[in-house]
């Protein structure tokens, strides 16, 4: 554990939380292997797998050729052969190069085989915009995979959740697409003390980050922090806003959403992915199905415009939802 600690405090950041989760699971599961580009000798582009190859060997931590299709396909085969696999996408944007292997091979394997074959595979990688990463280092493409039955989809926003969800994902017999928010990797503001003992965060349980009575903000990933900032501003105006961090999109914790809306009667979904057919749209549809009679205002979504993520800061900020956008839309909904 010592290596994962912040030198000044005993707090662990998001990246080191992930690293310790993978390390601990490699230690407790001799049938687990890691595959990815530059994950061994280099230790990963961001360093999530740093030191793992030296500790567990080149046969368990494999540097892969630049081929996401091979990484995912080989992961499927290794899982068929009884292994648990952590497969890294160097950036989650590159996952599209392995798309067929994910949606047609991996996602459907258990279904096609009438339950004979489990796919203990976690595909993880750095995701998210707001960092000047431009078109191919900024994506949140989770909606592609939420619409592929058979995949679990997870997006942690805190170090505690990053570790607990990663450990839960690596023990889950189903394939998991694990979105790591790279803007949070080394953010010291969110570093926190983690339990010494082994723990998991079960997939499919949302967290209420802030309690409130006037409106429910529903989000995940780094938009959770935008929602919390907006909630503070709204509090200054006398409005109490509840913030739900979904943590897991598939399976989705509908109960927590419903209970919150019963209390607040208003809901706003905030999501940095593009608008059309994004997961925010799915959430608005679910809210209508689950909680229509509890609503005093239309459930709305704030999303990225239907554009790619541009590079220049002004352009990026223009297309992405910002704290002030959340505040103004929330105010409008509360006064509806």
């Amino acid at each position: 554990m010592a290596a994962t600690l912040d030198p000044v405090t005993t707090k662990t950041n998001y990246l080191n939380a992930l690293k310790s989760a993978i390390d601990e699971e490699m230690g407790r599961n001799p049938d687990m292997i890691c595959l990815g580009e530059d994950i061994g000798i280099l230790g990963g582009a961001f360093g999530v797998t740093e030191g793992l190859q030296a500790k567990y060997g080149t046969h368990r931590v494999m540097d892969m050729p630049i081929s996401e299709a091979a990484i995912v396909g080989v992961s499927c085969g290794a899982a068929l052969g009884g292994k648990t696999v952590m497969a890294e996408m160097q950036f989650i944007d590159f996952i599209s190069c392995g798309f067929d292997q994910i949606v047609n091979m991996l996602a459907t394997y258990h279904y096609r085989t009438a339950g004979e074959v489990a796919m203990n595979v976690v595909i993880r990688g750095p995701a998210g915009a707001y960092g000047g990463g431009a078109l191919y280092h900024s994506q949140m493409n989770e909606a592609w995979f939420c619409q592929s039955p058979g995949l679990r989809v997870v997006v942690p926003s805190t170090p505690y959740d990053a570790k607990g969800l990663m450990k839960a994902a690596l023990r889950d017999p189903n394939p998991v697409i694990f979105y790591e928010i790279k803007q949070l990797y080394r953010l010291s503001d969110i570093a926190e003390e983690l339990p010494e003992e082994d723990y998991i965060v079960p997939l499919g349980q949302a967290a209420i980050r802030r309690a409130g009575t006037d409106l429910t903000l529903i989000s995940y990933g780094q938009n959770v922090y935008h929602c919390l900032d907006a909630a503070k501003k709204l509090e200054d105006e006398g409005m109490q806003v509840e913030v739900i961090d979904l943590r897991s999109l598939v399976p989705l914790d509908e109960a927590t959403i419903l209970e919150s809306i019963k209390k607040t009667n208003r809901a706003l979904v905030v999501n940095e992915a593009p608008r059309t057919c994004g997961f925010a749209g799915e959430l608005v549809a679910r809210i209508n199905e689950l909680a229509f009679e509890h609503l005093d205002a239309p459930p709305l979504r704030l999303t990225r415009m239907d554009t790619p993520v541009p590079w220049a800061k002004a352009l990026e900020n223009f297309v992405l939802p910002q704290v002030d956008d959340i505040v103004s839309t929330a105010r409008r909904l509360i006064r509806y």
Binding site: S67, A70, C76, A114, A118
Partner: protein, 382 residues
Amino acid sequence: METKTLTPPKSGSGSGRKSKAEPQSTTKPSDLLTPEDCLEMLKQLYLARYFDVRLIKEKRRGRLTGTLYSSHNQEAILVGSLYGLNGTDWISPIHRDMPAFFIKDLRAGWDNPDRLGMSIGEVCAQVWCRSGSPGRARDNWSHIGSKSKRIVHSTSMLAGTIPVAAGVVLADRLNGGDAVVLTYNGEGSTAQGVFHEAINFAAVHKLPVITIVENNMWAYGTPVELECPTEDVATRAAGYGIPGLIADGQDVFDVYDKVMVAVEHARAGKGPSIVECKTFRAYGHGDHDDDRAARYRTKEDVESGRSRDPIAICKIHLVNKGYLTKAEAKKYMAENKHATQTSDEDFPPDVVSYMSKGIEFALASPPPPAEEGAMWVFREEN
């Protein structure tokens, strides 16, 4: 557009080619096969042919739904490549390899319940879309497999199983096993990026992945010269620094020889090979395509392509070896006939009854209950 004449290669067309994996001695692996082995291989050819013929007839009688992808004229590739494998080896067949599911480890005994291949009944249950299929009729035709029988489950995305095959032998190696995997692919699928990506990975790590390319000259309605820029697909192996062997896909013993060289190479830890088997697709891409295939391929090309029937070629070898008399060779004449021209008398009776029992198993198996459609999306427990 100029099209070259689509004739099958002459016997032994690959034998003059030098390959890194070519054995030093003049003894071929097939020279070591016993007379019983050779006669068993002929019988397996009959079985593969009868399976195909019978399904074509069942479909024409309206007893089957779904598309048939005939392996007629390509049976020597399946029998010759599978015969020398251990039961614990993995295979990864595709749509035109349906008999591979029950021919795998058939050598261990046709009625041996412990052999590591599917029963013909399970395969028939899949064809008839019944719950007795290993996949419980969830995906169609050849999209079945078995973890316990060591058969990779394919999808419709051709060449997509090669990385999966590489992964499964990677896991086997990590577990201390010595299994090899045979992946089956048409020449058309070698244009897929994943064909390259998977073989490149397997070659880097010297994994025992043997890629069989069934070059039947046609990828659906597109001739090979519009799919592949080189005369032989096997030459692509040079780019990975691995052996590229060419077999006469009509000759069960030549296929056996080339595949066994690749198997020994792989089992010795020397890595992957590509084995191109030259053959010719007898009918349309699927039976839905038979009429159109008669238009995009000339009658002369088809006749010439089908002129070297693998059953007939096997018999010539067996007569030459003295394992079969000329009279015995003429007893069951399944060769050189369209499926509809054959009758059960053209096949050994035990082959006919083996398949018939498989069909009985299928017909006795109920369709899957409707609610299974929503089952097994996720595994709920470890």
